[in-house]
């Protein structure tokens, strides 16, 4: 019985790691792609955009920070409830 519990716990933690890895990879891709696109566009148009480039920085910062905190909260929620709601059975 105890062996079963341990196996299930290990399975749950491994699945949680899978969910976490998926989100981390996607967030990393998000930061790279948003940063790359904004950098290429702003650097090519700097003569025009230099007066209001901060608008872009503010909104990129908002997107990345809110989404990152949101994903951390999703992970925390899954971790807190995975046994209670039997997410990975």
């Amino acid at each position: 019985m105890e062996m079963n519990d341990q196996a299930m716990e290990s399975k749950y933690h491994s699945k949680l790691t899978g969910d976490t890895a998926l989100v981390i990879v996607m967030l990393a891709l998000l930061v790279c792609v948003e940063g790359f696109t904004a950098y290429r566009i702003l650097s090519e148009t700097w003569e025009i955009a230099s007066g209001f480039f901060y608008l872009y920085i503010i909104f990129i910062g908002l997107i990345v920070s809110i989404e990152t905190i949101g994903c951390l909260k999703v992970r925390e929620s899954i971790k807190n409830h995975m046994f209670e709601f039997k997410y990975y059975d």
């Binding site: 792609v33 948003e34 904004a38 566009i41 990129i60 905190i69 909260k73 999703v74 929620s77 709601f85």
Partner: protein, 467 residues
């Protein structure tokens, strides 16, 4: 209640289905439509519109994740407004969601037919559009798992096509024209930056619909937040990639009026594999979007029907396939009517206005939810979104700002939408005031809301399953 009506929706969906529903509906907006931001504000206007709308949608997705995983109901924004705001707002947002998705379905089906005709010139647009709508209705009638698994495959292929094209462009495998970025940076001056915002939602329009399959999820408290956030990140990545590729491969004056910008960018690259992949992607995203729209619009109509906002006849669930089959079939004549009304551009604008109305009411529902149920128990709120309610207020401010930009060019659509939803609000508020039916919180396993002892809360709408 008949035997059919006592059946319930099947609970089998997983996070990847939620992702497929959300991204499947929206990805078409990255293959076409978003580029009108370039016509209004140039490349810099488009970039700002993408980021501002992206910020709003990140917040809306977090609100939808929290509300969807808490309520676990098929009506999505309609049910959240019904439970936490009131019957008038619920009916307005339920109709807005229905109109938003059914208009998109009609537009997608016509584009699929036009693409098919461009490949096989002997085909006629009208019968192919009918066939597409009928086929997708049948798939959704047979079962939600099959419909969303199909969406997953179609959407994944279309997204991989964007990824492959982007990395080839970024790593120099494709000849690009960085000078296009400067030439078309800001053609209409600073006012263009503001005007471009009205088309910013095209990059993400409809992602909130991912939470509408909560009632059919096996574990909604995991599937909805995980699927919705993964979907939102996918769209943010896709939007940035699309903007970059198109703006360095298509001159700005042509990009602003292009019908299929990603496909055109692939054609300009001159590499056959990308032309084929992006052409296929354009076709598949239209099919996936129409498919997801049938799913979401039928759930909204089903939820309205279950609570007697429209005829309860539509609330029947198929005893074998466990789908709201009457609501699903009813999407067909409405979509065909929209498709052949001759006012499709007006219908699509109405769809955007309807969506923006939802983006005001979804965060507002969350603010009310937090006020009424401050508890964070796993029954009431299994997923607790961050930085609330401050970011919800911020999303409302962005949605109202974008709505205000529609006065440039779409003043009458905006006025019509306000009148339409205003009438719906007062009509349904009046109708349900007379019925005096309370929410049944106990049936949801929830405590009484804060302030209910005063009798102010709960007289606004009928409860879950009261039908």
């Amino acid at each position: 209640m008949s035997e059919h009506e006592s059946a319930s929706l099947v609970k089998t969906l997983r996070p990847f289905h939620v992702w497929a529903l959300g991204v499947g509906i929206v990805l078409v907006g990255e293959y076409m439509g978003w580029n009108f931001t370039v016509a209004k504000g140039g490349i810099l206007g488009s970039l700002l519109a993408m980021l501002v709308a992206g910020t709003m949608y990140v917040i809306i997705a977090l609100c939808a994740s929290e509300l969807g995983s808490a309520t676990k109901l098929a009506g999505g924004p309609y049910d959240w407004a019904r439970l936490f705001v009131g019957p008038g707002a619920a009916a307005s947002v339920g109709l807005a969601v229905y109109m938003e998705y059914i208009a998109l379905e009609a537009a997608d089906a016509i584009v699929v037919a036009c693409i098919a005709q461009s490949i096989f010139p002997k085909l006629q647009v009208f019968p192919v559009t009918l066939l597409v709508i009928a086929l997708l209705t049948f798939i959704n009638y047979r079962g939600v798992v099959a419909a969303l698994t199909l969406n997953f495959v179609l959407t994944m292929i279309a997204f991989i096509a964007i990824l492959a094209f982007f990395f080839s462009t970024a790593f120099g495998l494709v000849d690009i024209h960085p000078e296009y970025l400067f030439q078309g940076a800001l053609p209409n001056g600073m006012i263009g930056l503001f005007a471009a915002l009205q088309f910013g939602p095209w990059f993400y329009l409809g992602i909130e619909g991912a939470a509408m399959c909560a009632e059919e999820c096996k574990h909604p408290s995991r599937a909805v937040p995980l699927g919705q956030q993964a979907g939102m990140i996918t769209l943010l990545i896709g939007a940035a990639m699309t903007l970059y590729m198109c703006s360095v491969l298509i001159p700005t004056d042509l990009l602003g009026v292009s019908v299929y910008p990603l496909f055109e960018a692939a054609q300009n690259s001159g590499i056959f594999i990308f032309v084929a992949a992006l052409g296929l992607g354009t076709f598949l995203t239209c099919v996936a979007s129409a498919n997801g729209c049938v799913c979401d619009s039928s759930r909204s109509w089903f939820a309205l029907s279950r609570d007697n906002y429209v005829s309860s006849w539509f609330s029947a669930v198929h005893p074998r396939y466990n789908t709201p089959y009457r609501a699903v079939i009813f999407t067909m004549p409405v979509a065909i009517g929209f498709a052949f009304s001759g006012f499709l551009d007006q219908v699509i604008t109405f769809s955007i206005v309807s969506g923006l109305l939802c983006y005001v009411l979804i965060p507002f529902s969350l603010i009310r939810f937090r006020n009424l149920f401050p508890q964070t128990t796993s029954k009431v709120r299994p997923f607790v979104g961050p930085l609330q309610p401050y970011i919800a207020y911020f999303a409302i401010a962005i949605a109202i700002t974008i709505l205000s930009t529609l006065f440039w060019g779409y003043k009458y659509n905006l006025i019509f939408a306000f009148v339409f939803y205003g009438i719906a609000y007062f009509y349904f508020s009046h109708k349900h005031k007379k019925s005096n039916i309370e929410n049944n919180w106990a049936e949801m396993g929830w405590p009484l809301p804060r302030g209910s002892e005063n009798g102010k809360i709960g007289k606004e709408a009928i409860g879950i399953g009261d039908e």
